[in-house]
């Protein structure tokens, strides 16, 4: 029983990281109509950007904004230079998914000669370990949870309390109507890529911190729970992605304690399949952040 409780504690950290990344991933889809399978690779590229700064002697926490900026600019350019031209030509959703898959492979293979195939680790101090019963969490992990909470609140405030948030919701709901109402949808989409790219960058850096070691190949591994959480919560729904992150994060850890660590991802996906059967639109599809715009 104590192992399950401990696993629950570790799940808090996992779900925090998945939440940051899944919210960015699902917003990208919701606002820009782009299922970006290169998301995991942009995460890793951002993690390496933070590593470069950290390796120069800067604290990883100070390098975190570098990862965010890198992720934002990378994602913005990716859309402007690759995705948007294809979308303007009318490439359908499946075509765009394949393009993003190709982009992911290109990024990975371009990174290999630059950063190498070595796994790297941040110079970091996990800090004091705090115990609450069987739960053991380091200071660094508490900070990661804190970052996730701040990011989630910021996204909530953005979507609910700002003009940009309203414009994003309007663009997501009906871009043509939004444009006719005077909303500069092209700029909104640019900003959406910047914001979700920043989330992607932050997620990459904190995932690198949490895992203690990462490599170019980690991108595809990181992407799997992100996609699972996004679908589980309802594709395009940021709040759904948050709930999906909680479920996937906890399920993977607790299943490792109960069954076998070999099957932790299998269990998470079994839950996903079950939800897809019972509620194909996802858990919060009808109650997403922007369902009732305005």
């Amino acid at each position: 029983m104590s192992l399950i409780v401990a696993a629950f504690g570790f799940g808090l950290v996992s779900m925090s990281i998945i939440a940051i990344s899944a919210v960015g991933f699902t917003m990208q889809f919701g606002i820009t109509n782009m299922i970006n399978l290169a998301y995991g690779q942009v995460m890793i590229a951002s993690a390496y950007a933070a590593y470069a700064v950290n390796n120069a002697g800067v604290s990883i926490w100070l390098a975190l904004p570098v990862a965010a900026v890198f992720g934002a600019l990378f994602s913005f350019l990716l859309n402007r230079l690759v995705y948007a031209p294809f979308q303007r030509k009318g490439t359908n959703l499946i075509g765009m998914v394949i393009i993003s898959l190709a982009v992911s492979l290109v990024i990975a293979n371009v990174m290999l000669p630059i950063v190498g195939y070595y796994s790297v680790s941040y110079h970091q101090n996990p800090g004091t370990t705090y115990h609450l019963g069987s739960i053991a969490v380091t200071g660094e992990q508490l900070a990661i949870i804190g970052v996730a909470v701040v990011v989630m609140l910021a996204i909530h405030a953005l979507l609910r309390l700002t003009r940009l948030g309203k414009a994003m919701r309007a663009t997501a709901a009906n871009p043509t109507l939004a444009r006719n109402c005077g909303i500069p949808t092209a700029r909104v989409i640019d900003l959406a890529w910047l914001i979700t790219g920043a989330l992607c960058g932050i997620a990459g850096a904190v995932a690198g911190m949490n895992s203690d070691s990462f490599s170019v190949a980690s991108g595809s591994e990181f992407l799997i729970p992100i996609i699972a959480a996004s679908i589980l919560g309802g594709a395009g729904s940021p709040y759904g992605a948050m709930i999906g992150a909680v479920i996937i994060g906890e399920m993977t850890e607790i299943s490792a304690a109960i069954i076998s660590p070999e099957y932790k991802q299998v269990v998470a996906f079994a839950v996903l399949v079950l939800v897809m059967v019972l509620r194909p639109q996802g858990l919060l599809a009808k109650r997403g952040a922007l369902a009732a715009a305005g």
Binding site: A6, S121, A173, N210, V216, G236, E253, L272, A289
Partner: protein, 440 residues
């Protein structure tokens, strides 16, 4: 909902859930020095260059380049220059099959293929055998112990022998009695588990826990907590990529900063593994707490010196090459390529059906054969009408009837620079007892 107008609903979910990635990437041929020829020969390096086992491919590529350089500097194989080319399997049989088929279909000048790890050997080896291409594989799977594939060669013992060597070292050298098995859930790593468990149980030791961990996960804290609760004396491990680094860092963290002794297979004697794990747990922790078994290689002698010279020289083509100077697999695959080249010289043929049977003779030697340690010396001896025996970087070869060769084990640790230091050897008697206990 953000996506309300896109009308993807079920479609997006299904699309998300069913997408999978598969790509067999190809590199361009890389010569190992010398001058170009009108009919060059190719050595295919078929291995994982991307994916969780991406560290394996470069170790094998590092075997090919110095071999090609040595051959080309001696005038090539009967005048044919030799080059190396990577064929990426991603460590997945599903990707390895098209990679192998593409390699065979696109290159009629393949003189040999090296690599084929446990990840893909079972699917790749039959393809190569059917195409009559001699292969030197780094698979440890026991299904190749008595293989009927006549073009298959293996210069390393099966994984179960690695496992036996780990058991022997743990029991005889360190007197460990309680062992936790933490291996990746990939085919290659899992090949160690069964033999290790059997041997440990028969020799009176206890397997406290057997964890097959999913590679590349962001965290293993739950698994580590479960493992620590069993209080092992030592952890046996092989989980490549960043996996061992993540796992061991969390062992140290959750064990109040104290690392448990951990012992690796020969695959963990690798610069990529060293850099990953030392980055995560610190160099001194690895130096103090880590040991591994490795193939019985002395890293000395004229054959090794020739290999080392050529390995250092190809750094301009592959900067990481010199870091593989003590990677057993790199040495052995280099030797395999040399044996194939000399077999071609002996038979004066580029037809694999002609020179393949002679590879074993070049490796084992025949009555009256001359021992050679460099390709140039081998060519000179053959021109003088002599048969040759290749004793190269990895020492003597002892092929059995199934083209399997092995030389025993050493127990090693790393120094702070990542160099291998021998701290013990397993005697033949110890090895035999463990193999018998493990059912090998």
């Amino acid at each position: 909902m953000l996506a309300s107008h896109h009308r993807v609903g079920k479609g997006a979910g299904v699309l998300f859930a069913t997408l999978s990635i598969g790509l067999a990437a190809c590199g361009s041929p890389t010569t190992g020095g010398g001058s170009p020829s009108s009919s060059p020969l190719l050595i295919g390096v078929i291995a994982p260059f991307t994916g969780a086992d991406a560290a394996l491919g470069p170790a094998y590529f590092a075997a090919c380049l110095p071999a090609a350089r040595a051959i080309n500097n001696a005038g090539g194989v009967m005048g044919h220059m030799v080059s190396c080319q990577e064929f990426d399997t991603r460590g997945e049989p599903a990707d390895a099959v098209p990679a192998a088929q593409q390699m065979v279909a696109s290159h009629s000048n393949l003189m040999a293929v090296v690599g084929c790890t446990s990840d893909e050997a079972a699917s790749v080896a039959p393809i190569l055998n059917q195409a009559h291409i001699p292969m030197f594989c780094m698979t440890g799977q026991s299904e190749f112990n008595k293989t009927t594939l006549t073009y298959f060669h293996r210069l390393v013992p099966p994984d179960e022998f690695d496992a036996f060597a780990m058991v022997g070292s743990a029991l005889d050298h360190f007197n460990y009695k309680k062992v936790a098995l933490v291996f990746g859930n990939d085919i290659g790593s899992q090949a160690f588990v069964g033999p290790a468990m059997t041997a440990l149980q028969h020799l009176g030791a206890t397997v406290t826990i057997n964890q097959a961990i999913a590679l590349g996960q962001p965290s293993y804290r739950t698994e580590v907590t479960a493992m620590l609760a069993t209080h092992p004396d030592v952890i046996f491990t092989e989980a490549l990529g960043p996996t061992d680094a993540t796992y061991m860092a969390e062992v140290k963290q959750l064990n109040n900063g104290v690392m448990l002794p951990f012992m690796g297979t020969s695959a963990t004697i690798d610069p990529v593994w060293f850099k990953a794990v030392t980055g995560a747990v610190g160099v001194q922790t690895v130096v103090d707490k880590f040991t591994a078994v490795d193939l019985g290689v002395s890293f000395s002698g004229p054959g090794y010196d020739e290999f080392k010279t050529n390995l250092d020289a190809v750094a301009s083509q592959f900067p990481a090459a010199p870091t593989y100077s003590q990677r057993g697999a790199t040495l052995h695959l280099y030797d395999g390529i040399m044996q194939a080249a000399l077999a071609m010289d002996e038979t004066k043929s580029t037809d694999p059906t002609v020179y393949n049977p002679v590879i074993r003779d070049v490796g084992n030697g025949v009555a009256g054969s001359t021992t050679v340690n460099t390709y140039a010396a081998g060519v000179a001896a053959i021109k003088n009408g002599q048969k040759v025996r290749w004793v190269g970087a990895g020492g003597p070869t002892n092929y059995n009837q199934y083209n399997n060769s092995q030389q025993g084990y050493i127990l090693v640790r790393y120094d702070a620079s990542g160099n291998e230091i021998t701290i013990g050897t397993l005697t033949q008697a110890q090895t035999a007892a463990i193999i018998a206990a493990g059912g090998g």
